[in-house]
Amino acid sequence: MDTPLAASVAHLTKTYGTGNGSVTALSDVSVGIRRGEFTAIMGPSGSGKSTLMHIMAGLDAPTSGQAFIGNTEITGLGDKELTLLRRRQAGFIFQSFNLVPTLDVRANILLPFDLDGRTPTAAEQHRIQDLVYALGLGDRLTHRPHELSGGQQQRVAIARALAAGPELIFADEPTGNLDSRTGREVLRILREASASGQSIAMVTHDPIAASYADRVLFLGDGRIVADKPRQTAEQISAHMLRTEMEAAA
């Protein structure tokens, strides 16, 4: 059966440490990331948004509950299976340090294929060529990461994440290290990718970044406190301010 969800979690709880010193990062979270949508996961520091993303991506294991990528349950999988799953079903864009410094741009983009020991199919090659062209990386393919600007590095990471057409792309503060103009450009690229069918989950605490998403999930104290369709940056800021004031009261 094909679900309309690219990833989902059910009754997810994650606690760090034991006894009195234990910290609950996530408590009984159930949510799905819909296919073809650009979902933003928002929340203040310590709200559990990064933990949620790490568990959904198979980078971290929950204390209890289940996590799925597509139809595959990933909780309980061994390290090897998880690694292969990430390689084949997930794409990653991090805040910084996205690229392997010893590999050139081309090799960085093709990394998921190379790790899998296969060459891209003709269709994939076609898609990669289109991506490289669309992201303006055509004359950068033989450059090393340190020869690129921050925005260019981020576009290489996007090309790598999109290249294999993964089930879901995880973006962790992808604009956190960029100036606002370059950041907007990166967000536009992500929105376009999602418009052509790519599912994306983006963790951010920037209301402007989140305003590019089709759906905004708000986390607070390890729970999902709101689930809203596309919002303007003003609406998102207002919501954050409101919850902040409620928490302080």
Binding site: S50, H54, A57, L59, D60, D79, K80, T83, L84, R86, R87, R88, F92, F94, Q95, S96, F97, N98, V100, P101, T102, L103, A107, L111, P112, D114, L115, D116, G117, P145, H146, R160, D172, G176, N177
Partner: protein
């Protein structure tokens, strides 16, 4: 009254603060790489002191057997000095490399100190004084080990050879190499900490660590000197080989030639090694793990080159002694007739002599090996984030293991190949310049004879070194959790 008590400035430092500072000044010893530096200095000083102790004992034996005979003792002392010099040299390379690697990893911390107001010179002095402390600790350990060996060795030797009792196996001058090791370690740490001066306070603020590439420029003068020395050395080597066709004195021309040209190769390691490393990298094929391993070995070309050259020095000298003695033996036996007693005598003496020489230089290779293990380990520690990224993107632990092993293999294979080629060349030049006119021949051109036993031992030792060098780094690398590594950034 405020809740926070501030001690008056005149009261001097609080005792708690003072002791925490003292603790901090030794805490660096737990840093990765320091243990290996101590091991290297201990090995080197133990080697030097033991060698002098043995020299003294042999001097004592010959004196008691043949009466006062100064010259063999002097000869022995000279030979020992050369070997101590080689091991000092290799351990200095290892130490300065280790310190420059450690400084590279401490960039953030140094930048923070600079930001708070520490001067670059003070930061560098701190690193150098840590080097001195490492040298002192290693030196003391080495001196203790050497004293133990000297006492135990003389007792055993007295029983074994039925020689007269050796009353004072420990002399103060035996520990001169220890002093030399401490001083060179200090100097090497100073040299290795050069990079401290390039750290700017703003690097503490940057969101990501700047991937500054070690520059090779600015070393032009040094490389120029190396090229001149190298050419001169080659000229002398060729001259010695040609002269060797008519007189054994050719060796006296070839020897300084070998010394000069080899010094040139060591000096110009950052020019010589990278092409060899690249060549070896190509042997591993085009898979991503292989390409990344090759890239890692060349990431800091100067660091890897110097590390590899330490191993090259050891292998070249071992092979050189082997090839020279085997080739010369071949000539001697042919000249004197297969079965003559003289030929047997010569070949036995040569065998013993070359095994001793090989053993002595082999020790430097052990020190270089420790340096290599250390380099790879620190390399993995400093690449945590990158390895975390690769794990996130789908690099399996098996692939990580393969990558680290290939990285180690990269350096050992390149060093072995270069060492074998150089060793055969130098060994042949030595034998040819000495034996080209000997035993009734004139103008004899000898083919180099390669003694397979030491070559096999070297290759096996390098294989073992590769495995040992990959154990600690792979264990560290496969334990890295992507979440942890990426969160650190």
């Amino acid at each position: 009254m405020s809740a926070v008590q501030i001690a008056p400035a005149t009261a001097g430092p609080a005792p708690g603060l003072g002791s925490s500072r003292r603790r901090a000044s030794f805490a660096f010893l737990r840093e990765r790489g320091m243990g290996a530096s101590i091991l290297v200095t201990a090995l080197s000083s133990a080697f030097g002191a033991t060698l002098l102790a043995v020299t003294a004992y042999i001097g004592f034996l010959t004196t008691s057997a043949f009466g006062d005979s100064g010259s063999p003792a002097v000869m022995l002392a000279i030979v020992s000095t050369v070997f101590i010099g080689i091991s000092l040299y290799v351990s200095a390379i290892v130490t300065s490399n280790t310190f420059s690697t450690i400084v590279a990893g401490r960039t953030r911390q140094i930048a923070l100190m600079r930001l708070i107001g520490s001067t670059a010179a003070a930061e560098r002095r701190r690193v150098a004084s840590q080097g001195a402390l490492v040298g002192v600790i290693g030196g003391i350990l080495g001196a203790l080990a050497a004293s133990g060996i000297a006492v135990a060795g003389s007792v055993i030797a007295t029983r074994l050879f039925d020689a007269p009792a050796y009353t004072d196996p420990i002399h103060a001058w035996m520990f001169l190499p220890v002093v030399a090791v401490v001083l060179t370690t200090w100097l090497a740490a100073w040299a290795g900490s050069r990079r401290v001066l390039t750290v700017t306070p703003s690097q503490a603020l940057g969101g990501s660590v700047a991937r500054s590439h070690e520059e090779i420029a600015g070393k032009r003068a040094r490389h120029g000197v190396a090229i001149v020395l190298g050419l001169l050395g080659i000229l002398l080597l060729v001259g010695g080989v040609v002269a060797g066709l008519v007189t054994p004195l050719g060796l006296l021309i070839a020897f300084p030639g070998g010394l000069l040209s080899f010094t040139a190769i060591v000096m110009a390691a950052p020019l010589v090694m990278p092409p060899v490393l690249r060549l070896v990298g190509r042997l591993f094929g085009g898979s991503t793990t292989a390409r990344m391993a090759a890239g890692n070995a060349l990431r800091y070309p100067e660091r890897s080159s110097r590390m590899a050259i330490g191993v090259v020095v050891g292998i070249t000298l071992v092979v050189m002694f082997g090839v020279a003695s085997e080739t010369f033996k071949h000539v001697a036996i042919e000249g004197m007739g297969q079965d003559s007693a003289d030929a047997l005598g010569v070949s036995m003496v040569l065998d013993i002599l070359s095994s001793i020489m090989m053993g002595l230089v082999g020790f430097s290779a052990v020190i270089a090996g420790v340096g290599l293990v250390n380099l790879l380990t620190i390399g993995v520690v400093q690449r945590r984030t990158e390895l975390g990224l690769l794990r996130a993107l789908g690099l399996t632990t098996g692939q990580i293991r393969r990558m680290v092993v290939l990285e180690a293999l990269h350096i050992t294979l390149a060093s072995t190949l270069l060492g074998l080629v150089l060793g055969v060349a130098y060994g042949w030049a030595g034998a040819q310049s000495l034996g080209g006119s000997g035993y009734g021949y004139q103008g004899l051109v000898i083919a180099p004879v390669i003694p397979w036993a030491p070559v096999v031992v070297i290759v096996a030792a390098m294989a073992v070194l590769t495995l040992i060098a990959s154990v600690a780094p792979t264990r560290l690398a496969t334990r890295i959790s992507p979440v942890e590594a990426l969160a650190a950034e």
